[in-house]
């Protein structure tokens, strides 16, 4: 009997290995059951409200669905309509990319540059400046103050200032003129964009090992730019990657500011973005299938840009 049991094992290696792995897996899961229990509440909610919706959105995007009737499968029709027949969507994509190409990199560099300069200040002033730069991004709906600043009548702060200086003679409709509205929104967006990544950069810089910089100076690093490139940036790579994700996602999701300042829909769709287009079809026209196709395109753009940027940023400093 003993001989048999010994013989049985080596003679079916594949099955043995499979069994081995499976029981091993089960043992691992059982051993770690407390961890699964700890994670369960968060993960259940996370899957229901984040992962499931992404999958659902993808599925719905191939249907015609107006909430009242059952969804009807229509294949790629939503997507072909989106790219071939929807001029407003193309405007929205153009505006969104325009916003993102300007606010994304500018805000990212600004976050880092300001964090870097602030870091050289004495602690008390540093805390104050951090507050000044960070405050706009957490002040909630305070961006409505820009509506007063850029108000189209002569009581608007910018208009009255320019008129007093004699640069313009009559008030400019900053928020109702398609020549200006995009730029105004970009300014406000930049004003609000020194958020989480800015804090991450400040923190990363504060925890930087000073001895590296001193050692580098001995080794012949000549000025602060070399120090930045060879010492500071490489040692902050994790924060830089994190910050990039935050800035890119935010710059592609411009909507609230556009709606608050330029109205919805904005004049001649001048400030229409992918997200406002999504809001239009999702919450006003109830074309859920079509809106889901818009959401899916947005999802792909966001994820694609982020992953690409991660790859590029990993190259910094070698």
């Amino acid at each position: 009997m003993r001989a048999e049991s010994i013989r049985n094992r080596p003679f079916s290696p594949a099955r043995l290995e499979k069994n081995f792995r499976w029981s091993d897996f089960r043992r691992e899961v059982y051993k770690n059951r407390h961890y699964y229990i700890l994670m369960a509440p968060f993960m259940v909610i996370f899957f229901v409200f984040t992962v499931l919706p992404v999958i659902a959105s993808l599925g719905i995007s191939f249907t015609y669905f107006n909430i009242l009737e059952k969804p009807r499968f229509i294949g790629w029709q939503n997507y072909s309509r989106l790219f071939l027949n929807d001029d407003v969507f193309l405007t929205a994509i153009r505006n969104t990319l325009y916003f993102a190409v300007i606010t994304g990199p500018v805000s990212y560099i600004a976050c880092f540059l300001f964090a870097w300069v602030i870091n050289e200040l004495p602690p008390k002033i540093r805390a104050f400046m951090t507050l000044v730069f960070y405050a706009p991004s957490i002040s909630g709906n305070v961006y409505f103050i820009w509506q007063i600043i850029f108000s189209g009548d002569k009581y608007g702060f910018i208009n009255s200032l320019l008129m007093k200086l004699g640069i313009i003679l009559e008030p400019i409709q900053w928020l109702k003129d398609q020549r200006y509205v995009l730029s105004v929104i970009i300014i406000v967006q930049l004003w609000m964009s020194l958020g989480t990544s800015f804090l991450a950069f400040i923190a990363g810089l504060q925890n930087l090992d000073r001895t590296y910089i001193e050692a580098a100076a001995v080794d012949g690093v000549k000025n602060r730019w070399q120090e930045l490139w060879y010492i500071v940036l490489p040692s902050m790579r994790p924060q830089l990657l994190f910050g990039a994700v935050m800035q890119i996602t935010n710059s592609l999701a411009v909507a609230d500011i556009s709606v608050a300042l330029a109205g919805f829909p904005s004049v001649n769709y001048a400030a229409h973005t992918i997200v406002t287009h999504l809001m239009d079809y999702g919450t006003i026209r109830f074309e859920m299938g079509y809106a889901s196709a818009i959401a899916t395109v947005l999802f792909i753009i966001m994820l694609g840009t982020n992953i690409l940027t991660q790859k590029l940023l990993r190259k910094i400093g070698g």
Binding site: G140, W146, Q206, P238, S292, M302
Partner: protein
């Protein structure tokens, strides 16, 4: 002068001109960042005649708290009393934030300190979920919430807020710093995983709690109920305030007061917890 700066900063190779220019740049942008906020504060204390002065003055001349009285009066006369909106907002913000801190920490602890089947996949999914905004999921989210029968309840806002992935991510990065020896020692003494989490891990990550609170509280505080809440007596402060500002020119004073009310809560919270937040943020970052 040059020597002094070099001496104070204990750093080498700094050119005075560049330092000066950089700080000038910082000061200029600091003014750009701060002015709208200062303007908001000043507007809140301006009497009506100053709000409609031409040319408008930046600073208030005869400060008054009339606008706040107007605001309280307007809200007091509304169909649903002001205190109700305030209570709704406080319930949403407190429950949402507290649940988020606890659940995110509980989920972050195993992911930060242990390897087990699925831990890597879950971490990857969390990082990926940082890469798109909640707008993407808004439509299915609405359907799920309506299937659950949560429409027109506070649950629709509170419970999804508990599983905000950025909170889990920050918490996990912070918990990685806890020495494993500490946890091992507790295990040797026979503490259960739950006790270790609650009595050892949680007290050690207080700065990270504050960060999560700072990230979540303001957005819940500023929530206007979105497309989930329809009953007037369940609506939030931000919604009520929005209704007032839409009342037109006569409400400009109350509107300016609102700006200050909405702004002051998150900023005060940040001032109080700044050093803790920075400490947590030092551990953020996506590792290679």
């Amino acid at each position: 002068m040059k020597k002094l700066i070099h001496g104070r900063q204990k750093q080498l190779n700094r050119s005075f001109t560049v330092t000066f220019l950089l700080f000038l740049l910082l000061a200029l942008f600091g003014v750009f960042m701060a002015l709208p906020l200062i303007y908001t504060i000043n507007n809140a204390f301006k009497p009506l005649d100053e709000l409609f002065l031409f040319p408008p003055r930046f600073f208030v001349q005869n400060p008054t708290v009339d606008n706040f009285y107007d605001l309280v009066y307007l809200l007091g006369n509304s169909w649903v009393p002001f205190s109700r909106y305030l209570a709704n907002t406080i319930v949403i913000a407190l429950l949402g934030t507290a649940g988020h801190v606890i659940l995110a920490s509980a989920a972050a602890y195993p992911l930060a300190k242990y390897k087990f089947p699925g831990s890597k996949t879950l971490s990857t999914i969390i990082v990926l979920s940082l890469m798109f905004s909640p707008h993407v999921t808004s439509i299915p989210n609405y359907m799920i919430i309506s299937k659950l029968g949560w429409i027109d309840t506070h649950k629709a806002i509170i419970i999804p807020a508990w599983a905000f992935p950025l909170g889990l991510f920050l918490m996990r990065q912070f918990m990685e710093q806890i020495p494993s020896a500490l946890l091992e020692a507790a295990k040797m003494d026979g503490a259960s995983e739950y006790r270790i989490f609650w009595q050892i891990v949680m007290p050690n990550v207080k700065p990270a709690w504050l960060t999560l609170i700072i990230m979540r509280f303001p957005s819940l505080w500023g929530s206007d109920g979105g497309s989930f809440i329809y009953s007037e007596n369940l609506k939030t402060l931000n919604y009520a305030l929005g209704q007032i500002t839409q009342g037109g020119i006569a409400r400009a004073g109350a509107g300016a007061a609102i700006g200050l009310v909405l702004m002051i809560v998150p900023i005060t919270m940040f001032i109080i917890s700044q050093s803790n937040v920075i400490q947590t943020m030092a551990n953020t970052g996506i590792k290679d």
